[in-house]
Amino acid sequence: VVREGLVVIDRLSVPGHVVDFGLRANGGEIVAIAGQVGSGTSEVLRALAGLAPDARGHVSIAGRAMRLSAPQRSIRAGAVFASNDRKSEGLFLHQSVARNLLATRLKTVSRGGVLSRSVSAALAQRLAGLIGFDLKRLGAAAETLSGGNQQKVFLGRCLEKEDVLLLLFDEPTRGVDVGGRADIHNLVRHAASMGLRHLRIHRTRRDRGPCRHGGHHVRRPDHTDRPARGHDGCRYPRRDDPRLDKQGSRVSGVDSTTDGSAVSRVAGRMAQLNPAAIAVYAFVALLAALIIFGAFITPGFLSISNFSAILTSAAFVGIIAVGSTLIMLSGSLFSISPRHDDRHYSDPVHVPAALRRGRGDPGHVVPGHRDLRDPGRAGRV
């Protein structure tokens, strides 16, 4: 279903990053916003995702106005965002691949707040099939995957949701090797061809080598047979992803689902061994050792009344501790600041105090937002 002006962005501003950005896009379309790192392109997507609290402007999706204040609101309006930083703002690295795939749709796999195992497993398998991920590795921790597979899992999380109208991909192929790149482009194109979906790829020029031409526009990737080379014929430089080095040079054009290097296979198997269970046995053993030790050094230790006393004091402490475990698990104890807005810029430019408006310190702003005033710079693929 292609609708006229499915997404309309009008006078979108993010203080310090974006000034009066406007765009119209139809259903089934892939739009790329090009610009250097720090030019404000990321901020446009973040604002649409509800992750830039001070963004102003009018955005409507399928005729309905969307408020730019909170991620949940954006998601409810149908806009799903995939950050350019899959490690710190995307995947839950120590959780299983299946759980990562389902993280955004726990509601659809649960009945009355209780997760359904069978529904979860079925959905996870369907998504894995869609992104071309090895079903046997659904239980492995996300951190054991290669960069390309991680990115596929991350994007797969955003796909196949019934209520998604707009996908916001911030540099979806960052840190992905050539084979993985083609897969991801195919995924994005597939999602666009599903009709109602409208997607946007955003690319900033993150490569260190002179590969893309100033990041001006993204050409349609030639996914047939241009292996070890980039879309514009340049060799892609090695990325910051250390896994690429570990796995050695890959044969180009290989479907990275068969990505079965010994390293990752061993890691996957280790993850299945479930070290948590081993640790629990260790603690039970420690407890038993303590009791035996206690029996030796103190005479009355093994009496029933003493066990009762131990259990009572364990109960008092334990009830508090059980509750506090939730706080620990939720990470609330050490989450000092919920703001991570400007974290991903590598080279900060300091801003004079006079330019800082509104709340907080924007930290650093690269003064390149002029580019975005001209909507004509938003290239289409």
Partner: protein, 202 residues
């Protein structure tokens, strides 16, 4: 308030409450005010009522953490807060719920302790805060979130209680007790940290 450091807020709020109570009832030992809480000191099959409450609560919480949407979301939030936010999980709601549950648990403990001791004062549960944190850490949950379980905390609580009991039987002073507990917590945390780093460097 969102975004303030939870540790500092908790310590601050705790100090305010304790200060007000200490100010209003300086060192008094208050007997239960008429309410019939004797049943809380009952023993069933030789074990006090509170033990059953503890085990029941632990079981329910553990099931919640493993099988409900809320539990999984708590794990995800603890694992990576920015990611949870970007994925649209209700971060503020989850955090508030977690703190509310702790509040409830502490209140339950308060009532049970009052029923057990048949009177209350400010010092009766003095070391519980430390002991509870020690129980979680000794159980091996990660302080930074996302890793651990309620079951581990139960084992941790048993270990801490056993140690406390042994120290009492040996006749150690309060200072000695705190010293030993601190030592054990530090040891376990360091060991776990090393073990986990080993495990991840594969």
């Amino acid at each position: 308030l969102i975004g303030a450091n939870p540790i500092i807020v908790t310590i601050g709020a705790g100090a305010i409450q304790e200060g007000v109570i200490g100010w209003l009832s300086p060192g008094d030992i208050t007997p239960p005010a008429g309410a019939n809480i004797e049943f809380l000191a009952l023993t069933i099959f030789g074990l006090p009522f509170s033990v059953y409450v503890f085990l029941g609560l632990a079981l329910v919480t553990d099931l919640c953490m493993r099988c409900t949407r809320f539990g999984v979301e708590i794990y995800l939030l603890g694992e990576n807060q920015p990611a949870a936010r970007a994925a649209g999980l209700p971060v503020a709601l989850l955090t508030t719920a977690a703190f509310a549950i702790v509040g409830f648990c502490v209140a339950v403990t308060g009532v049970l302790v009052a029923g057990f001791a048949q009177n209350v004062n400010l010092q009766v549960a003095g070391t519980y805060t430390f002991d509870a944190i020690a129980a979680i850490l000794v159980g091996g949950s990660a302080v930074t979130g996302g890793w651990g379980s309620v079951g581990r905390t139960v084992i941790g609580a048993l270990i801490i209680a056993t140690i406390t009991d042994m120290l009492l039987l040996v006749g150690a002073s309060t200072g000695m007790q705190i010293f030993v507990k601190g030592l054990i917590v530090t040891l376990v945390v360091v060991l776990l940290h090393l073990a986990r780093r080993e495990g991840r460097s594969i």
